[in-house]
Symmetry: C2
Subunit: 593 residues, 2 copies
């Protein structure tokens, strides 16, 4: 069983060179994040991920969470690992020091999160959901709510959940039917059933803080009548400690394709008189608060894609080095060689690696933008960073996860027949990754958000300024990298063509534009990934030219070249798909399917 | 649980209109295959597939084959269904009447096989392996072997297996180490371990006829020293009935990602003195015989891809019709609609459907060519058909299965969160389909076969004449189908460019050419699929123009248009990938992975 080894070299490179780690460290409020501290955090996280979380990954898969008597027992070792996670202070890494967090930049906590997700996707979901609850309360919680919940959530002693989905309200939250009735003392009684609640019940913490979407009596229909409530598993005693059991119970957990270590709960609220909750923020503004949490959750699911992909890649590389089979192409009667020497195995590994490095770069650059959006002293710089981050989140989520499924599938393929055998471990990554394109908004939802809210609504202003920035970087790819620059220039042109098509058509042909929103998301992802790998290649070439003999640099350049040859080449074709709009799919009759 | 409904309308259309079913029925030896007989066979097969095999599909998944005491108990119902399968005469549909088969054309048995595979992939593997054993014995068996085994294998009373793989000999059969020592009486004692033996042990038949690759003493090293043996589970008594247990035992079965209903055995030969077998054909020619079987097996695995994809599509369509969520794009405050109305759901369904129809057309046209290759009175016509069929088999196998994995994954995606829940059934198709790009030769092996044996070796003669044929068909796409013709013309040009590149570079840059063999396979598959859908669209347009109001015709045209817009558009980019050869992947150091 191969354990996860955090790719610290690339993580550091991307943080420092592509995401301007020094610049982020110099932002107001980031003074703690000195290079030494960041280095120590990364080293320690790599150790915890590799030594504690990674060995539990397969156990979580084979001995998943179990439901009994309205309780959930997590996989062997999870509880103890979570205790260590909390004791070591990992939970509050990026949280506000006011509530016990360490206040490190999002860029740093992103790198650390990648490691948790790669080491153990199922485990990592618990702290991720807690993070969502923390954010909701930070944004909209009352002082009393903050005081009651945040210190425990930041430390990780208690965990959090997001309760959105109901049997008839999945992607369409307008259909939420859970009710919250005012008791008269400032609390509400919540009634309803929520499904797909990640870590909705478990045995790893003393309390679980549910953030729940529900409707108050007389609330407007649709999304404008949804409010957000905090409903703890145990009501708090006067001293703030968990006391009486609240009327929210886990009636079952799902039997899923993957992430077996993560209990996915069906929660019944109010079957015994009502679950007591308090309103978060203002009535009927629940969706708005939830969306803020959701943006963070979407970013994090993108990191899950990155993590699953990295793990699949590492496992495939180990196998490709060890497995000796066949002779080298073009060599008759030569010695048997590791399959790493076979051109198609190399192609598969490079196809995994190149996209992983692109996904990492996009995610970290987006994380850095989020830091700038919060901390830049200049308002214009803040809003520019905010716009960039919002534009990129559908790519971090949508593009990275779509790639993750394909990368994990390639990981199986590299193993040949052994990949199909569960004990090998490669198949788990495919099964685990398969959820990432679905939860926290499917790829289509990301793509619709991208073309609608992020592009068409502002006539493409942010993406056009990004395209200009890309062209500036492409212009720097010359000399021995001119081939890369040429491929990127063609791809950026294709992106611009597609953006113009969307902006022009969005209001007149909404169905046609939505019909190719996902192909557009792929196109943008490819071009953004190529842009980042091109920036990396330019840096690598400069170092090599300056006499730095580190083999990291030529590998970076080769990776960028591979990505350009295999992915940037697809950009013009994808722009053609985008421009095809509803061709073939809107004119066909519903009955013909 | 939605059961499989054979898509008889499209199956008949493809058989009759694209694969020239009438012409095949007119070939010598196909006299039995009258339109009425073929129709009745298809109807009856559809019924058996939908009513008997399909309901066992999920049972096979959840209650897979179990090993105990060197025996295997198949999933509940499998044994009874297999008995019905045999009793109804399905096993010998395409087999030689001399041994009890019905001698129907391969085109017909292909359509029927698609139904078995779509209804129950795991079940269908048993008769498929029997088919392989029948073919090996037909080609190379002695009269005594034929008389002893063929009637029972053709009826299906006994089943067959292919024993190639060993722990160190997967794709590289040169490494086979199983030994066969002559006893002196014409028999051999076989010693060794074989892995990944599909239906290597089970309880559905009275005997299992293992076809085994092994080396005789003093045989040359490598693939030229491999012989083929027939080793029955039970040795035959003088009257031909199964008698003494032979020394071949199932020591375990694999725990796999999918096809749980199909036992994948580890077989130990000769642990108790030697498994008795007889040589098939001549010594040291085993690989050659095996390859003939393998071509048939590869074709059949392509049909598995088609079957899994069709099943995934059907399930997704049912869900998309039933699931009501959200309002129609561009309609504010309108009624909730089935998700089938959402543009991206339609895009996913059309992406599944269009490729499925292309895969079916390619498979059936190839099957018809195999019939012509055997039965055309004219030798030139036979060899032309043979060359075409050999060229297309890597596409039927490689392209269809790669698509099947993606299509089954889209089937999960259409279901949203429900797709990740095992009870929904969508995930099983992804897990089942995932093996198809691996067994009977991975996609890379198909691609290498395609560029090497099928293209470069003959300087591209067959594919170039196919390209000329495609251009003839493209020229007929005019009038209201001119847009389709234009997209196809561009795609065919891209294919020709890639073929020229391969032919020119194959001997001088073998690693570079092999590095993009799989992208070439995708390119060829897309262009061939577009060609067939274009032919279908031309027929559909002619029918519509002639006043035929069947909604099948406009749906065909829409499907062809969708395929052209979403897949043919990718051809130029793929040709660029092919021409990139080893870029980025050959220059990177092994240590850098």
């Amino acid at each position: 069983m191969s354990e996860y080894v955090a790719p610290l070299r690339d993580i550091r490179f991307v943080m420092q060179e592509l995401a301007d780690g020094a610049g982020i460290g110099a932002l107001p409020g980031c003074e703690e994040a000195t290079p030494d501290v960041v280095d120590a955090v990364l080293e320690e996280a790599a150790r915890f991920a590799g030594e504690v979380l990674s060995p539990l990954n397969r156990i979580g898969d084979t001995q998943g969470a179990r439901w009994h008597d309205r309780s959930v027992t997590t996989s062997p070792g999870f509880k103890e690992a979570y205790r260590q996670f909390v004791d070591n202070g990992w939970n509050g890494l990026g949280c506000d020091p006011q509530f016990g967090g360490q206040g490190l930049p999002h860029l740093v906590s992103t790198a650390v999160s990648e490691m948790w997700k790669a080491a153990n996707h199922a485990f990592s979901l618990c702290p991720m959901l807690t993070q969502g609850a923390i954010e909701a309360l930070m944004i909209a919680g009352s002082d009393a709510q903050k005081a009651a919940y945040l210190p425990k959530l930041v430390s990780g002693e208690w965990t959090g959940t997001m309760n959105l989905t109901e049997p008839s309200a999945g992607s369409d939250l307008a259909a939420v039917r859970t009710r919250a009735e005012p008791v008269g003392d400032g609390t509400f009684r919540v009634f309803g059933q929520k499904i797909f609640i990640t870590y909705g019940e478990h045995d790893m913490a003393d309390n679980i803080v549910h953030l729940v979407l529900a409707r108050t009596p007389g609330a407007p229909e649709g999304v404008k009548g949804i409010s957000l409530f905090v409903v703890p598993k145990f009501l708090l005693a006067a001293d703030g400690s968990p006391a009486e059991r609240n009327d929210v119970y886990c009636v079952s957990i799902e039997h899923k394709l993957g992430i077996h270590g993560s209990p996915t709960a069906v929660l019944a609220f109010g079957d015994h008189g009502g679950a007591i909750g308090t309103l978060v923020g203002e009535e009927n503004r629940g969706l708005e608060y939830m969306f803020i949490m959701m943006n963070a959750a979407r970013f994090n699911v993108g990191l899950e894609g990155l993590g699953d992909a990295e793990r699949a890649y590492q496992r495939a590389v180990v196998y490709a080095r060890e497995r000796v089979q066949g002779t080298e192409v073009g060599v008759r009667g030569g010695p048997k060689v590791p399959i790493l020497r076979h051109p198609d195995v190399r192609r598969m590994l490079m196809s995994m690696r190149a996209r992983i490095e692109a996904m990492r770069a996009i995610a970290y650059v987006t994380a850095a933008a989020q830091d700038r959006a919060h901390r830049e002293p200049d308002a214009a710089a803040r809003s520019k960073a905010q716009a960039f981050a919002e534009l990129m989140i559908p790519i971090v989520k949508g593009w990275s996860t779509e790639n993750a499924v394909d990368i994990a599938s390639l990981g199986v393929q590299v193993h040949g027949g052994m990949g199909f055998i569960e004990e090998t471990g490669a198949a788990q990554h495919l099964r685990d990754a398969r959820i990432t394109t679905i939860y926290e908004g499917t790829t289509a939802i990301q793509a619709n958000d991208l073309i609608g809210r992020k592009i068409a609504r502002e006539q493409g202003a942010t993406i056009r300024s990004l395209i200009a920035e890309m062209r500036g970087d492409v212009a720097r790819l010359n000399g021995s990298l001119a081939d890369l620059g040429a491929r990127q220039a063609v791809a950026v042109d294709a992106l611009e063509r597609a953006v113009s098509w969307i902006v022009e058509r969005f209001s007149g042909d909404p169905k046609g534009v939505h019909a190719t929103a996902v192909p557009f998301l792929h196109l943008f992802g490819i071009v953004a990934g190529g842009w980042q790998l091109g920036r990396a290649a330019a840096i690598a070439q400069a170092r090599s030219d300056a006499g730095d003999g580190d083999p990291f640099w030529p590998a970076k350049i080769a990776t960028a070249r591979f990505f350009a040859a295999h992915f940037l080449t697809q950009a013009p074709g994808l722009a053609d798909v985008v421009a095809a709009g509803g061709t073939g799919l809107l004119e066909i009759a519903d009955e013909a399917f």
